[in-house]
């Protein structure tokens, strides 16, 4: 706690919002900015140091690092958004139903959640993507399902808390059915309790996808993607350290900014 409070940037709201704004701006508008091509290879300019033409230099194939860096967040963000949405919908439904139903259904669903939590995520993801290929749709669904369990667990306990609230009791006394209580009283409020968990899951999924790319099973070349960029350039790290440092900084700043924002709420 003390260490964190010393890290001033984790508490500076303006800085956090600015970082997130910059990331959003870049991710949304990268294709419309007048950048060099991300794929054009210049065999006459391999592994160059930063220059006026190539602001962050070039990689081993002579591609512009700056341009690739700005495009590099898009694949991970799209997949992280999709996977988070999938895990939220399934996780919140499972968790809320388990808490609302109670009894054997709660026990059964809770054991399924425990089972999913016990699976080694990354290894399973490696298996899935080596079986089904690097299709973004498959990866989103796989990541979404993998990260359903933590969401479901938090949704279950959030629902249990809500069920003890007086306005839910009154709804029961006034003849509300379980379904109408679920949709009318529980779900609108569960969302507020879950915001932190969902935002954290989003960053974990972001990191998981980048890790997959780093291992060669996420984004496929020549797509510019931060994890993949690190993997492709790590052999040339000594020649141009920026090749590795820049994507790390982008990924880390995005994840830290999201987590810091959540801490603020």
């Amino acid at each position: 706690m003390k260490t964190f409070s010393r890290l001033g940037f984790m508490r500076n709201r303006a800085l956090i919002v600015a970082t997130l704004g910059l990331h959003a701006f870049v991710a949304l508008l990268a294709p419309y900015l007048k950048l060099l091509s991300t794929d054009a290879q210049d065999s006459a300019a391999l592994l160059q140091k930063p220059s006026f033409d190539h602001w962050l230099g070039t990689d081993a194939l002579g591609r512009d690092v700056f341009s690739r860096l700005l495009h590099g967040g898009r694949p991970s963000l799209v997949i992280a958004f999709a996977a988070t949405a999938i895990s939220c919908v399934i996780g919140i439904v499972i968790g809320a139903v388990a808490a609302l139903a109670g009894g054997w259904l709660d026990d059964a669903l809770s054991r399924v959640i425990d089972f999913l939590l016990a699976l080694p995520t990354l290894i399973l993801l490696l298996l899935i993507s080596s079986f089904f290929g690097q299709d973004p749709f498959v990866l989103s669904v796989a990541l979404g399902l993998m990260y359903t369990a933590p969401i479901a667990r938090v949704a279950r306990s959030a629902t249990q808390t809500l069920l003890m609230r007086d306005f839910v009791r009154v709804a029961r006394l006034q003849g509300g059915s379980r379904i109408s209580i679920l949709f009318g009283e529980v779900l609108p409020n569960v969302w507020r309790l879950m915001f932190t968990e969902v935002a954290m899951q989003f960053t974990w999924i972001l990191l998981a996808f980048s890790s997959l790319s780093f291992l060669g099973l996420g984004a496929s070349p020549p797509t510019p993607e931060w994890g993949l960029m690190i993997a492709e350039s790590r052999s040339y790290m000594t020649l141009n350290p920026l090749l590795v440092i820049a994507p790390i900084v982008m990924l880390a700043s995005l994840v830290l900014a999201i987590q810091a924002l959540v801490d603020h709420e």
Binding site: D166, F167, V170, A171, Q174, G175, S180, P188
Partner: protein
């Protein structure tokens, strides 16, 4: 440290405190507060929620909550400006100069430390055990057994006494108390207050006690400051402030306190129709705890019954069982038509369900925070807009509240909306579980008045549960006294209040009488 010749232990000079991001035009949290306290003096500060009384007390201890700024003024505690003091300097003053006993009795002791370990920072040197024993005995915890107890092995009253001993062990010149009895039952709170009063007289420290309850502060302070909206609206001798209050707010505050001999609702005509019958009712909570044991109760249409009891008496369990939220374990529970009320909620017909409605204690919890009042009111009752408006009006809320959300309403308004929602179901029996205990005294009086009007107009039966015997006595036709799940006494208000037969009831009545007879102080 302080110079002994100085007679002032606490001084506020035109102190104004504001929320950080608010404009200059907004109402400050503390508005030009000036007050002085000399050695050995006692001061009580009363006010409703949001009046600034807790902010003031914390400032006296040198603490300003994050998000607040001291705009103007000076504060001097035992001769020092604690706000500007260094942490080391403050630590030297805490305990020996000024000591604070915070409000939440449950959270102020560290769960994994026993009582003796709590004193370790405060008492050092030789014969620690003896000195701790001595200070514990002083607050009424005699015997070595208390030394090695952990917080969870102590009752609420005992914890409050340990906190008091901790605060006093280094003989501070100034003791600050924040709501010293709000977490305690009436009888235990009263004993704690007696202890505080005795210690103050024998030790002679200065005392500032903050409370929403005039009865509490009047018992232990010679002077009273009444706060409202960040200002001290009245300051004077306790007896004078209470006997002849000059400010409008103080007048309202004094007249709002429920009194044993003052009715706020006249008894109405009761029908012959029965709305609830229970025979030999038993409710078991947890594994074996008997929350209610063999209770017989019959309620007629239009009758208002009050149930008094302290925490653990089973009064809330009884209400929860009557409306069907808690299963009964033995005995019978029927409504007037002979319908068995041990049926689970989901198997009851809508008519049976709506015939018994309940209003809960916590106004912040009783409305769905995401919905407007209109949505909350109509979702299960299917009431039309005009029905809602007229019921809202009858509980003292205008039509404009239909579109409001709970966060835009005060505690009293929320509770009124919750009552309106219960009424929209057209119940024959309305259960009220400590509905006003979270509200300020003035608001409480207004809400009870509204309930009395509603009862007279609709002639519905009510069961009102409260720890406050005066409040119940001023409102109901018949009183039931519960203790540890047993009915110890029941009868008309007159019979129970004027000639209680059970010693437990006698005690409750006596305390309640004592709390309100400030003139004797």
């Amino acid at each position: 440290m302080t110079t002994p010749t100085q007679s002032q232990v606490l001084g506020f000079k035109a102190v104004t405190v504001r929320a950080k991001n608010e404009s200059r035009e907004s109402r400050p949290i503390l508005d030009a507060i000036s007050l002085q306290l000399e050695h050995g003096e006692t001061l009580g500060i009363v006010g409703g929620s949001g009046s600034g009384k807790s902010t003031l007390l914390r400032l006296a201890a040198g603490v300003l909550a994050p998000g607040l700024v001291l705009e103007r003024g000076e504060i001097e505690t035992v001769g020092k400006n604690l706000l500007g003091a260094s942490p080391v300097e403050r630590e030297s003053i805490y305990g020996s100069g000024v000591a604070l006993v915070a409000q939440s009795v449950g959270e102020s002791l560290t769960p994994h430390l026993n009582v003796l370990s709590h004193f370790r920072d405060a008492v050092s040197g030789e014969a620690v055990n003896e000195r701790v024993l001595e200070s514990l005995a002083e607050v009424g915890l005699g015997g070595e057994k208390y030394l090695h107890r952990y917080p969870h092995q102590l009752s609420g009253g005992e914890r409050q006494r340990v906190l008091l001993a901790l605060a006093l062990v280094r003989s501070p010149q100034l003791l600050l108390l924040d709501e010293p009895t709000s977490a305690l039952d009436v009888s235990i709170g009263s004993e704690v207050l007696t202890t505080i009063d005795r210690l103050q007289r024998s030790r002679g420290f200065a005392l500032v006690c903050v409370s929403h309850d005039l009865g509490v502060v009047s018992q232990i302070s010679k002077r009273i400051a009444v706060m409202n909206q960040g200002r001290i609206v009245e300051l004077g001798q306790t007896s004078q402030v209470l006997r002849s209050p000059s400010h409008e707010y103080t007048k309202a505050l004094v007249s709002s306190i429920p009194k044993l001999d003052q009715r706020i609702r006249e008894s109405s005509s009761q029908g012959n129709e029965t709305v609830l019958v229970c025979r030999g009712l038993q409710i078991v909570r947890g594994q074996t705890t008997r929350a209610i044991d063999s209770l017989d109760l019959e309620i007629k249409q239009g009758e208002v019954v009050g149930i008094i009891g302290e925490s653990g008496s089973g009064k809330s369990s009884l209400l929860a069982a009557i409306c069907g939220l808690v299963p009964i374990s033995d005995g019978s529970l029927q409504n007037g038509d002979g319908y068995d009320l041990s049926t689970a909620l989901q198997n009851r017909s809508r008519t049976v369900l709506s015939s018994i409605q309940m209003v809960f204690q916590n106004p912040d919890d009783s409305l769905n925070p995401m919905r407007t009042v209109a949505q909350s009111l109509s979702r299960y009752t299917q009431a039309t807009n005009s029905e809602m408006s007229s019921v809202l009006l009858s509980v003292g809320l205008g039509e404009q509240f239909l579109t409001r959300r709970p966060r835009e309403m005060s505690g009293g308004e929320k509770q009124r909306a919750a009552i309106a929602r219960a009424l929209l179901a057209k119940p024959r029996l309305l259960l009220l579980d400590e509905v006003t205990s979270a509200l300020d005294v003035t608001v409480q009086a207004a809400v009870m008045k509204t309930l009395a009007d509603v009862q007279r107009k609709l002639n519905i039966a009510m069961i009102i549960v409260s720890h406050d015997i005066a409040l119940v006595a001023s409102f109901v036709d018949r009183i039931l006294v519960l203790r540890h799940g047993q009915l110890v006494e029941q009868g008309t208000v007159d019979a129970v209040i004027n000639s209680p037969s059970d010693s437990y009831t006698q005690n409750l009545v006596e305390i309640s009488g004592r709390r309100l007879s400030f003139e004797l102080n």
